[in-house]
């Protein structure tokens, strides 16, 4: 049985690396998800993934250039929540990121954002050249 989405929320924002704005976006998205009866666990998953995606964009994509933006777009209905997080960097090869869960990498203090996104979202993929992350959380999947 599939339920028809009763209402959809669509939006986009371009952010500088300024934390209050980032938190504001996360809070707004969390409110939309709560209104559409997503579970606490789902809201946790989406919020964490958004934080990690935006931070990766600012830090690794834009190399913390304060003049560059990270753009976040969302489309959320009662079945799924999809996001595009696009930075102004040159991109990267997501397959080239070392596995942080290997014993020899456990004590390296960075490189866990992407794996958390992959673990918490139903689907996450980068569009070439690697500065555009598309990720989706499906209620039915998790």
């Amino acid at each position: 049985m599939t339920s028809e989405p009763q209402s959809a929320f669509e939006g986009s924002v371009r952010l500088h690396e300024q934390n209050q704005e980032i938190e504001g976006v996360q809070v707004s998205i969390a409110e939309i998800l709560a209104r559409l009866n997503y579970s606490e666990a789902a809201i946790f998953a989406v919020r964490l993934s958004l934080e990690e995606a935006m931070m990766n964009g600012f830090r690794h994509g834009n190399l913390q250039d304060p003049t560059k933006f990270v753009e976040v777009r969302w489309l959320i209905d009662s079945n799924s929540a999809s996001f595009h997080v696009i930075d102004e960097g040159d991109g990267f090869d997501p397959e080239g990121v070392p596995d942080p869960t290997l014993d020899e990498n456990l004590e390296i203090p960075s490189g866990r954002g992407l794996m958390l996104i992959r673990a918490y979202m139903s689907d996450a993929r980068y569009h070439a050249p690697g500065n555009h992350l598309e990720m989706t959380f499906r209620k039915a999947h998790k």
Binding site: E23, E40, L48, E51, E52, L106, P109, S110, M115, Y120
Partner: protein, 121 residues
Amino acid sequence: MSTETSRIRVTDLSGVMRVEFVDKDILDESAIRQISTELVKRVEAAASPRMLISFRGVEHLSSAALGTLITINSLTKKRGGQLRLSDIKPSIMEVFTITKLNKLFQIFENSEKALAGFGGK
């Protein structure tokens, strides 16, 4: 005069530094940097630092915060001390499990259990 409000509370429990967080979300990069600086300073000021970080009341944690914990863990070990973690709610525990950092850290159910055998009471 201090210009920044501390984001942690530190209590000395018989030589064990128990750290608690003021915020329920440990996501904000600049806040995490501030926490990291403060913790590093405290670890470096102790001969063999024993630190217990309690996550009581913490609801969200980002990978940047995990990075800080890894740095503090390495530093305490290097200085002949020990770091323990406690009071981690299940949703955050999952973050430790996914990243396999539950293998790296000594994690206890609550502060009392973490303090047992740690020299503090």
